[in-house]
Symmetry: C2
Subunit: 336 residues, 2 copies
Amino acid sequence: MSEFMSTQIQLASRPSGWPAHENFRTATVAYGDLRPGQVRVRNAFVSVDPYMRGRMNDVRSYVAPFALGETISGGAIGHVVESAADEVPVGAIVLHQHGWSDTVQDDASTFRVVPDVPGVPLSLRLHVLGMTGLTAYVGLTAIAGMREGDTVFISGAAGAVGTAAGQIAKLLGAERVIGSAGSPEKVALLTEKYGYDAAFNYKDGDVRAQLAEAAPDGIDVFFDNVGGDHLEAAIDAFNDGGRAALCGAIASYNTTEKTPGPDNMGNIITRGLTLQGFTLGSYLHLAPEFQEQMTAWFAAGKIAYDETVVDGIENTVDAFLDMMRGANTGKMLVRV
Amino acid sequence: MSEFMSTQIQLASRPSGWPAHENFRTATVAYGDLRPGQVRVRNAFVSVDPYMRGRMNDVRSYVAPFALGETISGGAIGHVVESAADEVPVGAIVLHQHGWSDTVQDDASTFRVVPDVPGVPLSLRLHVLGMTGLTAYVGLTAIAGMREGDTVFISGAAGAVGTAAGQIAKLLGAERVIGSAGSPEKVALLTEKYGYDAAFNYKDGDVRAQLAEAAPDGIDVFFDNVGGDHLEAAIDAFNDGGRAALCGAIASYNTTEKTPGPDNMGNIITRGLTLQGFTLGSYLHLAPEFQEQMTAWFAAGKIAYDETVVDGIENTVDAFLDMMRGANTGKMLVRV
């Protein structure tokens, strides 16, 4: 019998407002020998995502809250290092939702083997070729019903979902894509690398005024990662029949007080607007369609991406907090 | 040559906040002889509707603003008293959008002949069998996608649209229908006459608390005529995948300051909610389907209604203002 040690990050207490280190603890978990059907996986990359903040609260949602005292679950990718399951052999690359740990051991059915494609870095399965890309695709297509010729506004455009969404919008025929981000460097990247037609720094001034200037003919679709003043600005800028896919609201994730909603809700009626929120769990049936499209675009060299990588599982909480503060460009990842 | 005098109500100035008599003027319009293709119509009933308040403002909307100095347009029904158009003979009953006048004269194509059905009062074509009923039907079906077994909440439930919507919801298979209104008498009417399963007086206290009590298992569909605290309460009460048809927001039609939106917009994402606004103009293709259903329900004695009738075209502005204040039960009409 061999014991195997795993370092894992657990939720120690529920944050009120901004999370702090004291809300987490680093635990050493001892695994025994593999039981039949189990595999042991050494993670290569672990994902930190904005939606995880919501799961730290004990509120009703499509996605259940994290349990106190348990390891933070979420996307990760790694290699099988020991196997007692024929279908998932040693050396296989596997995606899973076991979350913030350097190593994990569980039934083979909780891991999904992904092919090792030359020229496709592993980490991309955690963002542009994975859930993040799917989130962008679902929001634009199934939720907002984007059509060729639409003008599309994307908030938090330099983040993992935003960089994917801008490119997908253009590839699906958007006439004009506008993005907001939080630094001049990010704004430059949006137009220079990601094909945005216009971009602005929301810290430079009133979002309504900046969006109105960037979209003189109004917007048809809004993909929202931010909420707050961004949603209000979009409701002002919408053309008749405009559609918003509400994906995230990072502006209010760490507030402790209730924040008032947009002051222009009347436009929803007079302009026949639709605001639809979504979480990915209800749209996983679109994953095959997305994979087919995205794989083709990627192979054709049409998909750019950025990664902000933090090394060491013990720095996962810092990576998460930095991501919440907008320190990342593109996808924030922990390399184990 | 004969001259014919018509009394008409025109928009004299745009109201800021609550409209007042000074914003309107009573004009006497002189019509000459009929030209070929024209008809002259003596109105029987003229409609006053909440959406008209929005048209008094000079703001962008699906429905164009009323022009200053022109007669307020809107639904009316009357009899042809003189005709120079073979297809619309004297005595025909016609529906039209010429609005607030005792008599009107125009091309026959601007009037729609409706059959004189025994047992169907003319006035019903202006509400439960007309645009008002269609509004309720479109909101529940095409906008909110109501399904059998849904729990439905309707704000402003004792008004013209609300009384129709509650009955249509039940006839389409809603499991439970909940309504809000502004007096104990209206609340009693909702459950005793209109088949609502529960109702509350929004003036009795916090709308959130009253809705939560009336809908212990949450709501699936919200048909909103009020906005403000009603919309906020619905967003709190929604089950996952809930859908709101935003039809009116009478709570804020007469405010001069911007009013903050719901403080719980985050629920839209976490519960996968959809808020969709609409105005009827985009959904007139559903009129035949509605007419077929509604006519059958009405003939079977399944549709109740109320009318609050004001006599005299010169009292139209009072009728409109009273309706905005909630003085009506069911449909507010002016009998000419």
